[in-house]
Amino acid sequence: MASLATKSSRSIAAAGGLLFIAVASVLGFRGVHTPPAPDAPAYRQKGPADAAAVIVAYSDFQCPACGHAVETLKHLESLHAGDMRVIFKHRPWERNHPNAVKAAVAAECAGRQGRFWEFHDKLFASQSDWGHAEDPLAKFSAFAKAQNLKLEEFETCRADPATLAVVRADMKEADRRFVNSTPTFFVNGVRMVGARQLGTLGLKEIEKAAAAAEPKQAPAAPAPKEASGTKR
């Protein structure tokens, strides 16, 4: 009996020890994550300032999955244009995508002339043109020219180390937020990775936020019973 009791206590101690090691190592490895901050230059934001859903997107212009997610994001915008605000953050992966930082800098410079989103769309639509080009800068200049940007200003901005510093600051922020793959989206703070999660879980989050915001927008007129039961 004594032997059985000792065996049981040793067994429980072993299980508890292993469980403790597992939990402690996960918590230690995980560290502390800061929540996403919805701050970025105004030209990198679109949608109403008081939108019910704020989507912070960490993206890389040279990443194909990020290109696919642009379509999903546009689809969501077509469904919930007034309910969502999109904030773009740079997270280029320099090791795998050698031209991604240069593209991010070029997009910043286009943004300073009020054309960030047009340039963003062009970069994603033509990834195969410039992604592995030896001189992507010439391609970016051509895109800038096609979008009627002031070329001299664009080139000066691109050569300015301060522009690169803005991109690097976003990259550091992404690291602090444990953004390990792109595209990563935070829809009202809820993390989603890839176009599929954005299209399914993201849509649900936006619908939930929009539904929660509805009573605030029309508090004066109480809806008739039939209308209050109607779902979109």
Partner: protein, 172 residues
């Protein structure tokens, strides 16, 4: 005196049969196999369990095997199963059960990787180690097959030396 000493003697012989001393060379190979498989599983589980669930969920989605409602659940559960089975194997705790669990996981990973290859799904990174180590589908399949063979060895000989199972059994 005789009546009291007989059960003790019988108990000792059962123990001796379960854990022969000193361990045979093949037992040491079993221990090495157990520790190797356990370490790999624990490392991969730790990387994924510590990372945000959405990231491993995106990896699972890439295999197109599970319906959407189960993807997040699988992304939460699988890394912890790997970590716990890996630690149990490495430490030699419930060695045979841990080896069966590890073997089942490795077999399911091999199935998922082979199925993706068969269906022509391009996997740049198998996602086996989260963001820790990147392996192609072919590399990951080869690794999993090797680990599965080692798991069989761990199942048959892994608990006979330097294991928590042995420490628990010797608790007299």
């Amino acid at each position: 005196m005789t009546a009291r000493s007989a059960p003790r003697g019988a108990g000792s012989s059962v123990k001796a049969a379960a854990f022969p001393l000193p361990p045979e060379p093949l037992d040491l190979v079993g221990v090495a196999a157990r520790v190797a498989v356990g370490a790999v599983l624990a490392y991969s589980g730790l990387h994924k369990a510590a990372a945000p669930t959405a990231e491993f969920a995106a990896v699972i989605e890439g295999y197109y095997l599970l319906p959407d409602p189960y993807v997040i659940l699988a992304a939460k559960v699988i890394p912890w199963c790997e970590l716990l089975a890996g630690l149990a194997l490495a430490a030699g705790y419930l060695t045979r059960a841990a080896a069966v669990g590890a073997g089942a996981m490795l077999a399911s990973f091999i199935f998922a990787l082979s199925s993706a290859r068969f269906r022509g799904i391009p996997l740049e990174n198998c996602g086996c180690f989260g963001e820790g180590i990147h392996l192609t589908a072919a590399q990951a399949t080869a690794l999993d097959l090797a680990l599965l063979a080692l798991t069989a060895l761990a199942f048959s000989r892994g608990a006979r030396a330097w294991s928590l199972d042995r420490w628990v059994q010797e608790g007299t």
